[in-house]
Every structure is written in C-alpha cells, then in structure tokens.
Symmetry: C2
Amino acid sequence: MGGDRGPSAVVSGVAAVIAANPDVRVILHGDEAVLRPLLDKKPGLSSMVELRHAPRVVTMEDKPSQVMRHGEGTSMWSCIEAVRSGEAAAAVSCGNTGALMAVSMIRLRRMPGVNRPAIACLWPSRNPGGFNVMLDVGADVKADAPDLLQYALMGASYARNGLGLARPRVGLLNVGTEEHKGRAELKAAHDLIGPATGAGGFDYVGFVEGGDIPSDRVDVIVTDGFTGNIALKTGEGTARFVGDALRAAFNATFLSKIAALLALTSLKRLQTRIDPRRVNGGVFLGLNGTVVKSHGSADAMGVEAAIGLACRLARAGFIERLAARVASAGAAGQDTAGQGEGAAFNS
Amino acid sequence: MGGDRGPSAVVSGVAAVIAANPDVRVILHGDEAVLRPLLDKKPGLSSMVELRHAPRVVTMEDKPSQVMRHGEGTSMWSCIEAVRSGEAAAAVSCGNTGALMAVSMIRLRRMPGVNRPAIACLWPSRNPGGFNVMLDVGADVKADAPDLLQYALMGASYARNGLGLARPRVGLLNVGTEEHKGRAELKAAHDLIGPATGAGGFDYVGFVEGGDIPSDRVDVIVTDGFTGNIALKTGEGTARFVGDALRAAFNATFLSKIAALLALTSLKRLQTRIDPRRVNGGVFLGLNGTVVKSHGSADAMGVEAAIGLACRLARAGFIERLAARVASAGAAGQDTAGQGEGAAFNS
C-alpha cells in the first residue's frame, strides 16, 4: 500500500509473476476495499491470491521508531507477520525502507551471531553474470570492523545462492587500494576479513574503490550503510543523467533522429542491460526470514522482479544456508582465530 | 613527472595552453634531461617555458608522510615552492594526491580560520552552466560539523568565482532528505550551515542525496572526504560502464554499426558533455595558494583543462576573495552566532 505508485502497480506485478509461475502463491496485505476491485479486474487472479485485510498504511514520511511501536494493523506489519508465522516464505514491500527494516528487526529478530543486519543490492557489472552484490546500502548508517566482517560473510553467501557463484570474490570499499589508506575501522576490518576466507568460503581481494563497484575484479563489495547508500544513489543518478544526455543528443537534429530510429534495437539492448527495474530488490540479510525491499517507485515490472527474487531465494533455502554459514564462521573465529580455517558447509 | 602518462602528456598540455593563451607563462619542474628534449620537439615552446631542474620524483606509491618529511628535491616540492615564493600564481600537478596535499599543507600552510583543507571537483550536471561543485573529494577521510560548515563557505566561494554563480545553492550530502536521517555530525552541520547563509553569501537547500549530485536543485554539494571520494569514483565508474555498454550495443549487429555511423555527431556531442577530461582538475581549498590536482591518468587534453582552470582562478584573484570570505564568516559567527547576519563581501 505504501509504494509511490500505489497498490495498482503491485497488483499488476503480482499478476505477471503468477502468469509466469503458476506454482507461486501470494498473500496480499492491505485495504480490502482498494485491493479487491484491482484483483477483480485481472481474470482469474482472485483465486490465486489470498487477500489479507489491513486497515492502516505506513507512509514514506512515517518515522521507523514510530512504526516499530505503533505499526500493528498496517499492511507492512501484516506482511512481515506472515513470514514470522511461517505462512509466507518471503516478504516483499515497496514501502518506507527504514520502517520496513525496523518492523523486520522487531518481528523476525536478528539471526544468531549477527550484530547489524544489512541491505544487499545487485549492481550491473562487467562480470559474466552481469551483476555484483553490494552491502550495506542503507540498513544502518554505522558499521564497525566486526560488522563489516559479517557483511562479507553474508554477502558471499547471498552471491553463492542468489548469483550461483561457487567462491565469490569479496572487496572492502575504501578511498584507495593501498593498505595505509582510509579510516581506522576499515584497516581493522581488512585484518579481520583476510583470515575469514576459509570459513566464509570466499576469496578476499582487499580494498576496492568506487570505480571498482561495476568491475569484474570483485563480486561482493562490502561497506557501511551510509557510504553504500550514497554510492548506490550516486550510481543510479549518474546512469539516469547519462541516459537523459543520450536521449537529448539523439533528439538534437533530423539526422540524429533517423540514427536513433536505426539504433533502436541497440539502444533497447543497452537499456535492458542497465535497466534498474530488472534488478529491483534490496535483500535484508541477517534476519530470521527473507525480506525483499522493492524500490519505492517500482512499476509493475519492478514489482515482478522483486517478487521473482524473493521466490528464487525461498526456493534455494537461502535463510537456512546463511544461518549455517554465519554459525560456522563464528565457530571458526572462536576455535582457530586468525588461522583462516574452519568447517566449510555448502552454504 | 609523477603522472601515470609521464612528462610527455604534461608538455603537450602546456604547449596547447600556451598556443591558446600567449600571455600565460609556465615554470616546468622536473628532470631537465627528460624535459628539455620534450620541449625542444615543439617549435617555439622552449622560449615560453622556464625549466626548473628537480632531480627526484614523487611516485604514486610514496606515502604522504614520507614525502612531507623528505620531499625536497622532487618536482612536486619544487612546484609548490614556486607558489609559496610568489613566483607562480598557481600550481598544477598530475602526481600522488595525498603527497601533493601533504606538501601543500606544510609549505603553503592553511588559510587563517580553516581547520581542514578540502579538494573540490566539478561534476557534470543538469544546471545551465553544466557543472556542480562537490567537496571534499579526498583531502581528509574525516570532517566534523565545523569542518563541513567551512566546506560550505569555501565551496560557495569557489562556485561564485569559478562558475560565476552570484548566490550558489549549497546542499549537505546525506542518505535521505528528512531532518532525522543520517549521522549525528551531519545533523550538527545542518544546524550550523543554515544560519551561515548571510555571511557566506549562499542559499542552503538542506540535505541532498547521491542522486542529487548531478541535479539542478543544488550547485555545491558538501560532504566529508571519504564519502566524497567514494561518490566521485562511483560516478566516474558508472559513466565509464554505461559508455562501454553503449559502445558494445552499437557494435552488436551490422545495422547497429550503420546506425552508429549516422549517430556519430550525436554521440560526440554526448561525449563532449560528459567527458571527464574537460572538467579535469580538483582544486585544493583552504591553503594560502592555488593548487590544482589533475587526474593522474590525464592526457594532454586533461592537463590543458587543469592548467586552464588554474589560470582562471589566478586571474580572478580567487585566493584573496576566499580568504576574505572565510574571515568574514568567522567574524560573523563570533559576533552574531546563530543569527545568520554578517558583513557580505563580494567574495
């Protein structure tokens, strides 16, 4: 109910997912008076979707702390509750990110061994799979060295299960690749992550810079939620700016308009490659349940992508694998600290 | 001597500047045995350029602290020394950024009233002038609230003198535009910058996000040097990635190659608009002298742009105007703290 484009974009996205995956079932949370007519418009959809009435809505302006205390009865609360009770395998929301994290924290609770949950996003990249993972992109504005180590473990597990990479390469975001550069907590994290590659099942490439985020020298980029959020929005803003400049360049003259027509297929191919809607869905990592945060301004295609991601993760048994990995790394850290050895599960 | 492309790119850039601006004089610092033959290759250049021999070179790997203590005899040291002694109106270097800042700090000293100097860059934007100013992009990995206030003052002065904006709009980079978001030092800076608009001669638009950096709702983006450096390199990396994807899309089929030929002028127009070489040159703000840091990988065109920027600032008497502005804002802060009033110089 709380997305920028309202419930109709969500219902259209749900319809697209179910059309392509008839085995997927959806519980839709929100105002029945609004949602029922939208469902009835799509033939056959009502029978595939369970509607759960929630009278209240979390708005984009609501403070997370308020929603955490008084959020019962909202569609967001009801949605997370369905994951907590085990009725739903994953939650998807286009609403207020801070509030969604707050409600998820208080209802699903942190996974044992995790101090700060994180939000991971997919970033279009030069790697064969087309995407890199970056975290945290906004769950928490702070992260100390042990948090960054957990982000490395969780990000690697997500890359293994979400992108199918056997042994992801992890990099730590900094202002330079030399070991003496950056803030003190980054140097401490650097010293923690290096010895954890055995238990974590990843390779560590050391410090990476902003320019490396879309590169093929790394699969998982680890950073605190303040820096990650700035980088994510800067990247999105730059891509939008270049895209608009490209459009303007093609609209400048008669000849360029003809060229644009001829280039239409090529430009569409480019747009498909860097279209943020295709990779819509930040994943909350470190909670006892899968929560996918769709972009607030997502249209039907964006919602479809976010639900698709939630389905993939649920089918892979991602939460169980992630929990096993965090537990094994924690045990390895206690038993053989600094040695970089430990039991390696297939998580 | 220390740039990635070596002294020949620098000499070519110098030649281009002098060809276009015969009144500009250049003192070139470095190994005479290397530079003299390069100068002699360009007809008439030797008579316009004073060569000052410096036997040593600061490499990209040298630690700033080492260069600060033992840098005498390097081309970088000699270059900054020419500004300190008043022989040169501005310094330009393609070398090691950290070392250049360290040598500049120790030889030129901080401007009275400035705690942390900053590096300001120009960012292609939707504004009529085509560029926004962002600072700090890497002078210091930390900045507290009073530092961020000084960045606002210095960035506004740079936008006035470098971009010709009468009353620049300043924004503070954060993870959201709501007042309750972000880190504690940002909330404190928010409360300091708001009342300083009178003495600083700027408008304050409040918090801005990463996506606003290339936008037209702000002219000057203020942030700490860690975040600014990550954002700058993320933006550059994203633009490069989209450009490469565009090239690949146009090379995909025979038809798309024909379209690319027809679109050549449009694509060149786009490249001109977002070409980082055109806006090459980070400016060190808060020192007793103008220092322009060119990109380490700058080619002749990039070096030409950096020297051109140094000339513009020297001609505008920028350092004197910036010093007057910092002094007046400091005085206003002491006299009428929190009131937002103060003497407004034309700086």
